[in-house]
Symmetry: C2
Subunit: 315 residues, 2 copies
C-alpha cells in the first residue's frame, strides 16, 4: 500500500492526512514551521471521535488511525519512503515553484508529487523540473474526508501513467476523482461554482431576490437532486425521452436566459454591502467559527446518510 507524505499541515494538509490514514496508508506529516505538524496531529485527534460516531472511519478505531500517522521535522525523512506526496503550501506562485523544485530534488524518483492548489495551473510551477512528468494537481474540496470529489489536473507534460496511478490511489481511498483531460483555469468545480455565483450576484444586485432567497432556491431546491445525481443526470431524468428530449424542449428557454447574463455584477460594489448586511443579520461575525463547526457536523451527517442511502436504495 503506497506511503503518503503530507507537505504543509494546515487545514488542507491535515484533512488529507485523515483521508489517507483512514484508507490504511502510512502518512508522514512535515511542515516548514516548527511544531506545526504536531499541532496538526492534535487537531486530527480532536476530530476523529465525531467521525467514528458517524461511522466514517472505515471501521478503524481512532487510535488505529492515529497509529498510521507520524511527524518529522526533517524533510528528507518525510520523503524517504514516499510513494505519493501531497503538497499544501500557501497559494503563491513563487512558493509553489520553490517547494516543487525542492520536492522534485529530494523525493524518490518513483514518487508522484501532487499539489492541492486551487488557483494555479500545474504547468506554472513544474515546467523547468527534471521530474515534471510526475507532477500534477490534486485539488480537494475541504475537508476531503467528508467531500469525496477531488480534481486531478495534469500539465501538458504529466505522464498519463502518473494520472492513472493517482486516480487509482484516490478511488481506493474512497474519493471520487475528476480526471481533467487538460489544465484549465478554475478546473471544473470552481468554474461551475463561479458560473452559478455570477447569476446569484446579478439576481441580488438587480433587486429580484434576496441573498436568503437564492440560498433557499439551492438548499431547498436544486441542490437536493444535485447532491446525489449531478446536473446532467438531473436533466436526463427531467424529460420523458432523456437528455436529448430535455435539450430540445428547453434550449430556447436557456438561450434566452444566457442572452440576459452577458454582464457582470461588480462583486465589490454595493451588492457586496447588501450581501454582507443580510448575512451578518442572520450570522454575526462572532458566530462564524461556531457555524463552521455546525457545517462540518452537517457534512458528516450527510456523508453518513449518503452511504446508507447508497446501500439501501442504490447509487
Amino acid at each position: 500500500m503506497p506511503n503518503i507524505t503530507i507537505i504543509g499541515t494546515g487545514l488542507i494538509g491535515r484533512a488529507w492526512a485523515i483521508t489517507f490514514a483512514r484508507a490504511g496508508h502510512s502518512v508522514v506529516l512535515w511542515d516548514t514551521a516548527a511544531g506545526a505538524a504536531a499541532q496538526a496531529v492534535d487537531y486530527i485527534t480532536s476530530v476523529l471521535p465525531d467521525l467514528a460516531a458517524n461511522n466514517l472511519l472505515n471501521g478503524s478505531a481512532p487510535e488505529e488511525l492515529l497509529a498510521r500517522i507520524s511527524v518529522t521535522d526533517q524533510i528528507e525523512t518525510a520523503l524517504a519512503g514516499a510513494d505519493h506526496i501531497q503538497e499544501n503550501t500557501p497559494e503563491r506562485l513563487e512558493v509553489k515553484q520553490a517547494v516543487f523544485a525542492e520536492l522534485d530534488r529530494l523525493a524518490p524518483k518513483t514518487a508522484v508529487v501532487a499539489s492541492s492548489t486551487s488557483a494555479l495551473l500545474p504547468s506554472s510551477f513544474t515546467e523547468s523540473l527534471p521530474g515534471r512528468h510526475r507532477c500534477l494537481v490534486v485539488h480537494p474540496i475541504n475537508p476531503p474526508y467528508l467531500i469525496p470529489a477531488a480534481e486531478i489536473v495534469p500539465s501538458p507534460w504529466t505522464d498519463p501513467e502518473v494520472v492513472e496511478q493517482t486516480r487509482a490511489l484516490l478511488v481506493s481511498a474512497g474519493q471520487a476523482p475528476i480526471v481533467m483531460k487538460r489544465e484549465l483555469d478554475g478546473f471544473v468545480m470552481n468554474r461551475l461554482q463561479g458560473a452559478l455565483l455570477e447569476e446569484a450576484f446579478r439576481l441580488v444586485a438587480d433587486g429580484y431576490a434576496s441573498v436568503e432567497d437564492v440560498d433557499i432556491g439551492i438548499r431547498e431546491g436544486l441542490a437536493l437532486r444535485w447532491s446525489f445525481m449531478g446536473p446532467f443526470e438531473t436533466i436526463d431524468l427531467n424529460a420523458p425521452g432523456g437528455v436529448r428530449d430535455y435539450v430540445e424542449r428547453y434550449n430556447g428557454l436557456y438561450q434566452n436566459l444566457f442572452n440576459q447574463m452577458q454582464r457582470r455584477a461588480d462583486w465589490l460594489g454595493p451588492v457586496l454591502d447588501q450581501i454582507e448586511s443580510e448575512r451578518r443579520q442572520v450570522l454575526p461575525s462572532a458566530d462564524l467559527h461556531e457555524r463552521q463547526v455546525w457545517r462540518d457536523r452537517r457534512l458528516m451527517a450527510l456523508a453518513a446518510h449518503k452511504r446508507k442511502a447508497a446501500t439501501d436504495i442504490g447509487t
Copy 2:
C-alpha cells in the same frame, strides 16, 4: 384553514394535492379530461405508503390524508369554497390565458389564483383580467412534497397582500417559498440552473471534462454543502472574515473565469451527441423510468435525513 382547489391533475397538480392535504387542507381536484382527477387519486394512493414509511406525512396516516382529497367534474363545484387555487395546465400561453380568464370569472372574489408555470411570466396571462390583482405564479420543483422550494412570482399588478397570504400558506404547509420582488424570465431557480448548465455544456464541448466528471464535481463536491446551506452561506463560511473577505480574496479569480464564459456552446450541436452517448451508456433509455423511481426514493430518504439533521444538529 384555507381550502385548496387543484386545476389540472397531471404530475404537478397531483403532487401539489399531496403537499396541501398533508398540511391538513381540504383539497378538491378538477381536470378537463374525464377521469383524470380520479386517476390522480389512484396515483396519490400509491405514493403515500412510501411517504409514510419515511415519516413524511406529518404524522397523518395515508387514509386520513386521502380523506381530505375529493374530486369533481364540475369546475363550479371545484371552485365554490376555494381560498387558494393552484393551476397546472399545459405550458402554452393561449391555454393559460383562457384558463385564467375562466378561473377569474368563476372563483370566489376572495380566492387567490396561482399558476404552477415555469416558463411564462404572470403578466403575460393575467393583464386583462378584472381580478388580476389576486393572480400570481407559484412555481414548484416537482414533486413539492419532497422539494420544499417554491417560487412566488408577482406580476406588476399583484396585490402585495396576496403575495404575503400565499407566502404564509406555503410556509404553514412546510414549503420554503422564494418571494421574488418582481417577475423575471426563468425566475430564480431556472436562472441559477441555466448558468451552471452553460458552463457544464462548455466544459464537455471543449473536451476538458466528461459528463460523469461534471456530475461528480456537483454530487460528490459542491452540492453537498449547497444542499443544506446554499451558495451564499457556503462562501460566507469559506474565508476567515466571512463573505466580504471571500469576495476580496477571490473576485479576481472569478472575474478571470467570467471573461472565459462569454460564448455559448451549441447545446443542440455535437456536444449533445456526446452527452446523450455518455448518459445512455450508463443508463439505457429503457431504464429511464426505473431510474426516476430511484430518484424519488433517494429524494424521500434525503428529505427524511434533512429533517433529522435539522433536529439533531440544527439549521
